[in-house]
């Protein structure tokens, strides 16, 4: 809401626009009320040294085709000569002349300056150059009757003013009007509030326009008042200037007064030409599906059965209720009698139509938030009073229609407010007698005695319904800054859950392994999942910003592959990335089967690199999984991938991305990958590791090499050795894998070093021979052959 200070001052002595300290106090008070001030702009400042001048004659110069010579007079002294490049001027025009020595708003100083050897003795100014708006298309032409030599600000009737742009929150419908802001501000600043009290009287012959409200849930009140003696003409300057400053274009006295009343009293209204109003009355009903209406903005629109129409008495639509009039309902220059509509519409209904049609107006923004359902009579008289300034014969006829439905909010709403509840929430120590001083000035009327008071809620604050709403008003007018600062005396302790601590541990491990964190967009393009050979079953956004970001990911893989491709295209190969983020597979439940996933991608590396990452995580988290290479998940390298099984649950996969998928994502390196269901991994918190004694006895190393068929996983051999070696085995490593000469085709040699040690004695050769024998017996069952 743009607030013109001189206009606001109509309703209280807030601040002199030229007193910047006072202006700042007003702006601060507005912010302290909850209407955040976005900007404070001084307007109407004039440039000293610019005076009105008359063009005596124009002259072209044979060597200059873009500029012409202009001879002007300021009424006194010699004729002055200036060069000018604008082409909208002619002899006899009155124009603003910046005289020599003038400093323009852009910092330029007007100096005597020659072109083609002829000096320019000043400059003719455009509106833009004078800071009067954006128009720089030509010289600002002034009224032909303007006296010469006058400061142009005086000639234009400019005065210094301040425009305050304040953000009105949704709970303050009243602050969409000057009077609402002034009421709140006057109370806050402790100054007198002077609302407009129209003195205009209803005097004319009774004249009633019949009103029928068909859909009362959408329109709860519709008043129509006949006003005759209207002459359509321009508004007086003061009104035109105020509307312009507020961002509205002055059109005619009737339209301008209508807008003025809306801005002042927050009562949107519409004046219909009674002579062209079909049947001389109104019918308010829902539109029929597909019903057409050309709105005031000139667009022919189609409406549905959920949009509300204002129709004339013949049921012809003439406006969209509370949003915009029909093009044909506009008053004309010939209008002499109007039917003035001031109505109250359902907030939700207006909002629905605005959302569906994207048709908005100053009126709809107000109705959507809730205007005063009882402000009509005052607004009608204010309308008449303001219009009578240009229409001296104006008459307001008695018999105005006032149709109401059961959905009209009650005129008197009240709520009990307990001072104890106020203090409990605000931490204050008010007594009940403190409440009236804070509430009465803003129209919340406090009555009764004792600790619980009855508060009548103002009709213009439909947002206020409960005790807590009144408590907020108390807090605002008391001042948030006076509430003090304390810290709750909590009896609970803070901390991360084990799950959250373990998640951080996972990050630490990955970062330590040189893997950086990416955060790709969780929204995929249609087809991306299929491109990654993943199931295309996914949840979609029904109102995406763009189609390329409309599918909820079911895997972190596509996003990370895109990130690798991006980096590769910027000559960064060998990039190592991880992501921890939610994925959203579809489900039949209340919500998707959302879970937190972890994926690691290592560009330029092969499957073993991913296995190494997995081993580090297992080692750190103390929770492992079976590596099952019998089936590779779709999209991963069929012979270089294993699923990770924890009990029956698949925990994830480790290996490489399939070559065809890499090609589809434009990744030209191999990519090792580890994918984990992090919820599961972190959810399985191990018990604290229990101490095992370390032996002080000498240890012996035993090297064993086995030939094992390729199709038997090394992991099985590993397990068999460990089991057979028993408790003497304290450490074991696979130190060589060999395929080639000396080893049968389809097999490989796996060499392990076993460190053997007893806790309580030195080992004998017999102990070591026992282990060797035991291991051999166990591994033969796997088809492994112990090499000598």
């Amino acid at each position: 809401m743009k607030i013109l200070l001189s206009w606001l001052n109509e309703y209280g002595d807030f601040a002199d626009p030229t007193d910047s300290a006072a202006v700042e106090r007003v702006a601060d008070a507005i912010t302290a009320l909850g209407l955040e001030v976005e900007s404070v702009e001084v307007i109407g400042e004039t440039v000293e040294g610019v005076v009105t001048a008359k063009i005596n004659r124009l002259e072209s110069h044979p060597d200059a085709d873009k500029v012409q010579r202009v001879h002007v007079t300021t009424g006194a002294g010699d004729e002055l000569h200036v060069w000018c490049g604008a082409d909208n001027i002619s002899e006899g025009d009155i124009v603003p002349l910046a005289t020599l020595g003038t400093t323009m708003p852009n910092g330029m100083t007007i100096e005597r300056r020659g072109i083609l050897g002829i000096d320019s003795e000043g400059m003719l100014c455009s509106a833009n150059e004078l800071g009067l708006g954006d128009d720089h298309s030509g010289i600002r032409l002034l009224d032909p009757d303007t006296p010469l030599g006058l400061p142009y600000g005086e000639a234009l009737g400019l005065s210094l003013d301040v425009l305050i742009d304040a953000d009105v929150t949704r709970n303050r419908p009243d602050c969409w009007g000057y009077v609402g802001i002034a009421r709140d501000l006057a109370a806050k600043m402790g100054i007198e509030f002077r609302p407009p009290v129209p003195t205009f009287e209803v005097a004319g012959e009774p004249h009633t326009t019949p009103v029928e409200i068909v859909d009362g849930d959408r329109c709860a009140r519709f008043t129509s008042t006949v006003i005759s003696g209207v002459e359509v003409k321009p508004s007086p300057d003061w009104m035109a200037n105020r509307l312009t400053a507020a961002g509205m274009r002055p059109i005619s006295n009737v339209v301008d007064v209508s807008n003025y009343v809306m801005l002042e009293l927050n009562q949107p209204n519409h004046a219909y030409d009674l002579d062209t109003l079909g049947g001389g009355g109104f019918r308010i009903r829902l539109a029929n599906d597909g019903e057409l209406l050309t709105t005031l903005d000139g667009d022919a629109r189609t409406f549905t059965g959920e949009d509300l129409f204002i129709c004339d008495a013949n049921d012809t639509p003439i406006g969209v209720g509370g949003i915009m009039g029909g093009l044909d309902s506009e008053i004309s220059d010939a209008t002499t009698t109007v039917a003035l509509e001031i109505a109250w519409f359902s907030l939700v209904g207006i909002g629905q139509t605005v959302t569906r049609t994207s048709l908005r107006s100053e009126a709809s923004s107000r109705f959507e938030r809730g205007v005063d359902p009882y402000g009509m009579p005052n607004a009608v008289l204010r309308f008449a009073e303001l219009l009578s300034e240009t229409c001296p014969d104006l008459v307001v006829h008695a018999g105005g229609a006032d149709a109401q439905s059961d959905f009209l909010p009650a005129a008197e709403r009240s709520v009990d407010v307990r001072v104890g509840a106020v203090n409990r929430l605000l931490g204050t120590d008010f007594i009940a007698d403190d409440l009236p001083a804070l509430l009465d000035p803003i129209g919340y009327t406090v009555s009764g005695v004792g600790d619980t008071r009855s508060v009548v809620l103002p009709t213009w604050r439909l947002d206020s319904t409960d005790e807590v709403d009144v408590i907020e008003e108390v807090a605002r007018h008391h001042g948030y800054e006076k509430l003090g600062k304390s810290v709750p005396k909590s009896t609970v302790h803070g901390g991360l859950t084990p799950h959250q601590q373990r998640r951080r541990l996972v990050r630490e491990v990955l970062l330590g392994l040189g893997i950086s964190e990416a955060m790709p967009n969780p929204f995929l393009a249609p087809g991306t999942l299929a491109k990654a050979k993943l199931s295309p079953e996914a949840i979609s956004i029904t109102n995406p910003l763009v189609m390329e970001e409309s599918v909820l990911r079911t895997s972190l893989r596509p996003g990370l592959l895109e990130a690798l491709a991006f980096n590769e295209s910027h000559r960064r190969t060998g990039v190592r990335l991880y992501e921890i983020g939610h994925v959203y597979p579809p489900s039949d439940g209340e919500l998707p089967a959302e879970y937190e996933a972890l994926t690691v991608v290592l560009a330029g590396e092969e499957a073993p690199a991913a296995v190494a990452v997995w081993r580090e995580l297992v080692n750190t988290l103390g929770a492992g999984a079976r590596v099952d290479q019998s089936r590779a998940p779709a999209g991963l390298h069929p012979t270089r991938t294993a699923t990770l099984q924890a009990g029956k649950d698949p925990l994830g996969a480790v290996g490489e991305v399939a070559p065809d998928v890499l090609a589809a994502f434009d990744v030209h390196e191999r990519v090792a990958i580890l994918e984990l269901d992090l919820d599961q991994l972190l959810g399985r918190a191990p018990k604290p590791t229990q101490w095992k004694a370390t032996s002080r006895q000498p240890s012996s190393d035993l090297d064993l090499a086995f030939v094992l068929p390729n199709d038997t996983p090394a992991e099985k051999l590993d397990k068999a050795i460990r089991q057979a070696a028993g408790k003497l085995l304290v450490d074991m490593s696979l130190f060589d894998v060999y395929r080639g000469a000396g080893v049968a085709d389809g097999s490989r040699s796996l060499a392990y070093r076993l460190r053997l040690q007893a806790i309580d004695r030195s080992l004998t050769d017999a102990d070591i021979a026992d282990v060797r024998r035991g291991v051999e017996t166990a591994t033969i069952k796997l088809g492994a052959e112990l090499r000598s």
Partner: protein
């Protein structure tokens, strides 16, 4: 005999002096000072001498010789050891600046760094960390937060809807959560007060990306529910956070605002040591309807909530000019932090 001893000693001392390596010293030790060495051999011959005087004199001479040889060997060994060590370390010289390669540690995402810093500050202030789903029911995201169906404020959230339909539910009743506030409801329903939690998380708006907005971004939400929690507690908690996170020279203030799920509602601003103010987030006393939706009696419990953007904290801290850079997954960006 004594002559032989002196000759042997002199020879030994000369050899020791001439020894060029620690290996020589080992050999000379064996040759002269060992149990089977030359001096030991002479000592064994002492018994063959005739008189006690001769034995004494020769014994003294041999002992003197042996001691002299031991001393000489120790001294020479020390010299040679020092030389050998000096030679070894000289040969092992490295120019360490040849090894100042790129660090290999990975880089946590800026949003994660800010997220964890915030968590740590709030944990220090006595909060636990709560989490919730990113795809939410309309009920948790709006209705339970005092925005029933048709509530005009819903329009301000630029909601993204998804096509998931719960059993028996209606299409359009599942959303990408527009704020972390649904976690308030989930926490209240799951736990008994007192509740002191923060809920960091990813949120979604139908917002065209620009230098300061992303449709997918991160927020942190705080919720306190206890007996007799007042608005002063809110102001004090915000202030404690401000000082803990930004530094002791920072201040905070509350200013009236409007959110459907709190009343009274407040924006909170922080003041830099230079006096300038930055708008940080929204807050307020938990609305009685929200407490009720969370299964709590507003007459028994009261509380406050607050929330603000995480990504913006990262941007402010590191001077990132465009938030979109943060989410481009460009390794050249990630490696900077």
């Amino acid at each position: 005999m004594i002559t032989d001893i002196i000759a042997a000693k002199d020879a030994a001392l000369a050899d020791i002096k001439a020894a060029a390596s620690l290996e020589d010293i080992v050999a000379l030790t064996t040759r002269y000072a060992g149990k089977k060495g030359e001096l030991a051999a002479l000592k064994k011959q002492l018994g063959s001498l005739d008189s006690i005087e001769q034995k004494k004199a020769a014994g003294a001479a041999v002992n003197d010789a042996m001691m002299a040889v031991d001393v000489a060997i120790d001294a020479r060994r020390a010299v040679l050891s020092a030389t050998a060590l000096a030679e070894q370390v000289e040969n092992e010289r490295l120019d360490l600046t040849e090894f100042m390669g790129a660090p290999t540690r990975g880089h946590a995402h800026l949003a994660t760094q800010a997220w964890e810093r915030l968590e740590d500050v709030f944990v220090g202030l006595g909060f636990r960390v709560a989490e919730g789903p990113e795809v939410e029911t309309d009920w948790h995201n709006f209705e339970a937060l005092n925005m029933p169906v048709g509530h005009p404020a819903r329009g301000e959230w630029d909601t993204l809807f998804v096509d998931h339909v719960p059993p028996g539910g209606k299409p359009g009743s599942t959303v990408l959560r527009t704020h972390t506030s649904p976690v308030q409801i989930r926490t209240m329903l799951a736990e008994e007060p007192p509740i002191y939690v923060v809920a960091p998380g990813r949120v979604f708006r139908r917002d065209t990306p620009d230098a300061t907005h992303m449709p997918v971004f991160h927020q942190i939400e705080g919720l306190v529910i206890d007996r007799n929690i007042t608005m002063a507690d809110l102001a004090g908690t915000i202030d404690a956070f401000t000082k803990a996170y930004f530094g002791p020279g920072f201040n905070s203030r509350l200013r009236p605002s409007y959110f459907p799920f709190t009343e009274p509602s407040a924006e909170f601003d922080i003041q830099r040591p230079d006096g300038s103010w930055i708008e940080l987030g929204g807050s307020g006393m938990v609305h009685p309807n929200v407490l009720r939706a969370g299964g709590l009696d507003p007459e028994e419990w009261s509380g406050f909530a607050f929330g603000f953007g995480i990504d913006r904290m990262a941007i402010m801290r590191h001077g990132v000019a465009d938030i979109r850079e943060m989410f481009a997954d460009d390794i050249r960006f990630l490696e900077q932090f």
